[in-house]
Every structure is written in structure tokens, then in C-alpha cells.
Amino acid sequence: MKLLSQARSYLSPSGTLTLPWVQEKVATNKTFAQKETKPNIPSPFWVIVQKEIADHIHSWRLIILVAIITLACAGSLITGLMHFKDTVKPSDPEDAFFFLKLFTASGNGLPSFIVFISFLGPLLGIGLGFDAINSEQNRGTLARILSQPIFRDQWLNAKFLASLLVVAVLIGSLTVLFMGIGILRIGIPPTVEEVMRIIIFTLVSICYIGFWLNLSLLFSVKFRQAATSALACIAVWLFFTVFYGIVVNLIANVLAPSEFAHPHQLVRYQEFIINLLRVMPSQLYSDATTTLLMPNVRSLGPLTQEQIVGTIPSPLPLGQSLMLVWAQLTCLIAATVVCFGLAYYSFMRREIRSR
């Protein structure tokens, strides 16, 4: 039994036998070692991820996007700091969370940090993904790379992961920078719960940008021309940010019940309109982030007087806030997965011609 376990310990994870007394020999016989175990050679997946990240970092596109987003964040930080005094009142039940006010405070026509992210995040996602596949096709590199021994999905996954990593690093560092300057300026460090909320907020933001990234990846698989796919992405984005709201407004006006309608009917009507709005990814995102960053938000739908009566005017704990936005989070992730699935489906079995 002991012998057996000793023998097992000599088996490397890849299943090749490496006995201690032959190890030296193996090391000297380089080609043999490379053929058998391929030590220290990263899998093609990570090779592609590495290259994609390097490409992103070297591209002008990312520099421009980073500049826009950094400027916007700086603007919102200044707004947050300027209006910090107005928003914090000693009698406020959420005075424990005033650090979070930095992220949500707006004034003088300058929107808050979360509004900026919900507006510019899609641009970042679209900018990183809209020509992921079709530019390779146009450059003639698609056929060359896919004739290397890699799986097609590895390539698609690696492209997605590389862009998502860039987004994550960017949003993460921006948030941390935001916090750091905030601490310096107001002189109050955030509490543990605030930090937790901010971390979750960052994750949700990455998810949200990931959705737009996947959408643009899907279009880059579908459309041959990078310009077409960029335009399609921007069309979807504009539709949701501008036109969808107008359409919902129209529907709301048509369906509006009379003032004397039964309260139940009014509530149902309100819920219906809100659910219509929730088709928009940006609505889901702002629902989720406001709840996370404003702990006093206790419901995302209409509340009747009866429901409010007897509530304690205190902020929700983190767990409860999370419960409240669980549906929104799931929807965002589901939308992302659907886009990715569609991109996958149309890419996996398609014919790869050069140019």
C-alpha cells in the first residue's frame, strides 16, 4: 500500500512518470521533456489573451476611451465633493453611509459617477469589441490563426476575456482612485460595509459593460464590415438610451388609468411601466447600483401607504439590498450570456475564408 502511494507520487499531474533518479536525465534531454509534458508553455488560450491585452493597451482607441471616462469621473468627483455638504444632514438616517454619497451626488447639471458609468460604460464595451472578429477577417489573419491548432471557441473566449480584463482593470482602478481622492478630501474613511458595497458596485459595473462588450462581439461576428458593426452597436445603444424611453412614455400616456381608478389598478399600471423600462440594460444597471449605493432605497417598485406604515426609517443591510437587486443582476448576466451564446453559435460552424 505504501509502495503504491509512493509510486503515485511520482506520477506528475499530466500522467507522465517522473522518477527522481531519471529527472536529471529528462532535464538534459530537452526535446523529450518538451514533447512529453510541455512544461512552462502557456496554453494557446493565454497566449491569445496576452496578445489581445497588449493590442488593446497599444491602441489609440483605448487611450481615447480612457481619457473620456477619466475626465467624466473627475467631473463627477468634483461635483460629489462640492455638494457633499448639502447632501449630508445630521438628522439623516443614512448618515452612516455618507461616503457613498460621493458616488451618487449630483448637482449643477453635472451627473453623478454612476450616471456617467451607465452612460459611458456601453461606449467602452462597444469600443473594445465591435471589430474583434471582422477586423481579423479583413486583415486576412482569421484564416491564418484558425489554421493553427487551437479550438475556435478558445479564440472567441480569449478575445472576450482579454477585453473584459481590460475593462475590469480600468473600472477597478478608477473606483479605487475615486475612493482614494474622496478619503483625502473629506477625511473620513469608508466603513467596511461601504467598501463591500463599492466592491459589489464595481463588479456590477463590469457585468454591465460586459453585456455591451458581448453585444458588440456578436455584431463583429455577424457583420463583415467593422463600420457596420460599430454602427449597429451604437444604434442599439441609442435606441435604449433615447428612443426606448420615449416609446415607453407614449405607451404610458395611452394606458394611463383615470385619476379615480382603483388603487390596485394604479399599482399594476405603475409596475407594468417599470417592467417595460427594465428591458433596458441601463435601467437594470441603475436600479442595481442605486440600491447598492443608497442603502435607504427599500423597494424598486411602487409601495402603498399600508406597506410603508410601521417601517423603521433605517437603511437596509447589505444582504437585503443585494436581495432587492438580485433579479436585476440575474437579468444582466443572462443578457450577457445570451449575446455570447449567439456569437458562439454563428461563429463555431461558419466557413473561414481568407478575406
Binding site: 530537452k30 526535446t31 518538451q34 510541455k38 512552462n40 508553455i41 502557456p42 496554453s43 494557446p44 497566449v47 491569445i48 496578445k51 493590442d55 497599444h58 486583415r139 486576412g140 489573419t141 482569421l142 484564416a143 491564418r144 490563426i145 484558425l146 489554421s147 493553427q148 491548432p149 487551437i150 479550438f151 460552424r349 466557413e351 473561414i352 475564408r353 481568407s354 478575406r355
Partner: protein, 320 residues
């Protein structure tokens, strides 16, 4: 011995259009096989199916004994493919492009460096190795493509229109390089082209491919014999003769190697031979008292074979 590339009844439809129609082909180890045909004959589609880059509608593709449709990754480990009009990452140098390919093939860093250096030297790109590919000429790109194909030490290389868009001198260099490298490493080469005379110099065997069908395959000489005429060498002679030609005809037919003599028009002789008999024919004509104005020997290259085939086809179509 099993063929390196084996196609069995391979068919590919695009809607109603049959791009490849019931193709059967075997390519043995060490061959340099030329897949020849006009544009749109289905050459590229066939090649894509060999690499699993598109799926056949029916039929089987085996490369190195592996099914290319169900197991493309294993095939792609052994096969190097140079696509038509190959592209590189313009912002990277030639060396970096090759290194990326080497990494995708999981070649150890040290070995990859050695191989790339060696290949760049062979394709005489070592001076431009660290320039960005953007600055490369068409011929350089194509040579870089060849180096890229060879980085993974393949058993088979498949080149789709490798000579497209290169000047004649570049074509010759590239083809010589292909032959040299393939001999050195014992590679099997499949190359497609619509430029017949370029390719006929280096192919051990060619396949004529038209409208999704393989018309004929074999060495260039065999094809010439099969498609053009029974006679390998044909001689045309223009003569003037005082007397009748019947005498001369009989005399020519007696020569060894002459199989057929025809008078095409007044004074124009057509002589079909199984070997080169031009000197004997000339002597016979002169000795018979006729005056010889012009004598030309014709051997047929692929261009003629091709042309002849299409002419035949056209007349058939008109007749039908």
C-alpha cells in the same frame, strides 16, 4: 501505405450550387501536388474542408489518417496552411508574427527562437525581421507566410494560390524555395493555382479541377497525352513540292517513331510522333525533293492542355 491526404466522394453545396462535386483524390507522402483550375473551380473550398475550416455536405476528408471534419485540431497540428492572400498583424514585426504562431503551437521559447531565426534566414527575410509587417512588399509577405507555415514543423503544407500577385522573378524564387524546403524536410505539398505554367515546373503530379470536378490527375506528360492527343510530339511543316505528296507521306510513315501524317491544307503537314523525330523528318522531306520552309515541333504544357480542354467542351456544348 496510407495516403497523406485522402478525399472520398467529397461534396460541398452552397444552396443549389455545387462547389465541389464527388471528389476522390489521394496524395501520397512526399508528393508535390498541384491543384489546378480556373477561379471558382472549388479549389479553395476543397482546401478549407481539409483543414476543418468548413464542413463538407457529404463525403470524408482524411489528412494524415485523421478525420479533418470531426478532429480539426489534431489535423492542424500536422498541417501548415497558407491562405490565399495571407494577412499578418501589421503593427507587429515579422519576427513577432512568427513568434505568435509558434506560441499558439506550444513550441518552447528557446526552440521557437532557433526555428524562427533559421526560417527567416532561409526565406531571406533576416534583415527585415524586426521591421513592422506593414512595410513589407507583397513578395516578402508571401515568403513570411511560407516561414509562418513551417514554424510548426508540419508534415504537410497546403498553399492556396501562393504565387498570386508576385512578379515573375519573385514567383520563381518562391517556388524554388517551396521545392527546396519540402525536399529538405520531406514534406508533402499541396498547392493550388490557376497559373498553370508556373506550377507545372515544380509539381510531381497535378490534378485538373473544373466546376467542382477532378477532370484528370497525373504528371504533366501523362495529362498531355491523355487530353491532347495520342502523340506526345507533334511536328508541323510547311513545304512546297512540285509533284504529288502521296509519295512523301509514305516515306515519312516509314520513319521510326512517326505514327501519323496528315495534310492539313495545301503544303501544310501535320506529323504525330511518339518521340522527337524532327531531324529525320526534315531530312526525309528534303531528300524527297520538296522544299522545306518551316518546321516546328510542339510539346504541350498545361496551358495548352487547359485551352484544348475548354475548346473541346465549348464545341461539344455548341453541338448539343
Amino acid at each position: 501505405m496510407q495516403a497523406v491526404i485522402q478525399l472520398d466522394n467529397l461534396t460541398k453545396h452552397y444552396g443549389d450550387f455545387k462547389a465541389v462535386d464527388g471528389l476522390n483524390l489521394q496524395i501520397q507522402k512526399g508528393e508535390v501536388f498541384g491543384l489546378l483550375g480556373p477561379n471558382g473551380a472549388g479549389k479553395s473550398t476543397t482546401i478549407l474542408m481539409m483543414l476543418g475550416l468548413t464542413e463538407p455536405s457529404s463525403g470524408l476528408v482524411h489528412v494524415c489518417g485523421l478525420n479533418a471534419t470531426t478532429n480539426p485540431k489534431a489535423v492542424k497540428e500536422k498541417v501548415g496552411y497558407l491562405p490565399e492572400d495571407v494577412g499578418f498583424y501589421d503593427d507587429l514585426s515579422g519576427w513577432e508574427n512568427l513568434m505568435f504562431t509558434a506560441r499558439l503551437n506550444r513550441i518552447a521559447e528557446e526552440e521557437a527562437r532557433n526555428r524562427i531565426e533559421d526560417l527567416l534566414k532561409k526565406t531571406s527575410l533576416e534583415k527585415a525581421a524586426h521591421q513592422k509587417v506593414r512595410t513589407y512588399s507583397r513578395g516578402m509577405r508571401q515568403r513570411l507566410g511560407l516561414a509562418d507555415v513551417l514554424v510548426k514543423n508540419p508534415e504537410v503544407i497546403i498553399l492556396d494560390e501562393p504565387t498570386l500577385g508576385i512578379d515573375p522573378k519573385g514567383v520563381k524564387e518562391l517556388l524554388d524555395l517551396i521545392v527546396e524546403l519540402s525536399r529538405e524536410k520531406g514534406l508533402t505539398v499541396l498547392l493550388s493555382s490557376h497559373h498553370l505554367h508556373q506550377v507545372q515546373q515544380i509539381c510531381t503530379r497535378v490534378g485538373l479541377f473544373v466546376q467542382g470536378k477532378l477532370l484528370a490527375s497525373g504528371s504533366v506528360d501523362e495529362l498531355a497525352a491523355e487530353l491532347i492527343s495520342k502523340h506526345l510530339v507533334q511536328i508541323e511543316a510547311r513545304i512546297t513540292q512540285p509533284q504529288s505528296t502521296a509519295n512523301l507521306e509514305a516515306e515519312l510513315l516509314q520513319l521510326e517513331g512517326v505514327d501519323d501524317v496528315k495534310i492539313l491544307s495545301k503544303g501544310l503537314l501535320y506529323i504525330g510522333c511518339s518521340k522527337d523525330t524532327s531531324a529525320e523528318v526534315a531530312r526525309a522531306i528534303v531528300e524527297a525533293g520538296a522544299s522545306l520552309h518551316h518546321l516546328s515541333k510542339k510539346t504541350y504544357g498545361l496551358d495548352d492542355i487547359y485551352q484544348r480542354y475548354f475548346e473541346e467542351r465549348k464545341t461539344k456544348e455548341v453541338g448539343a
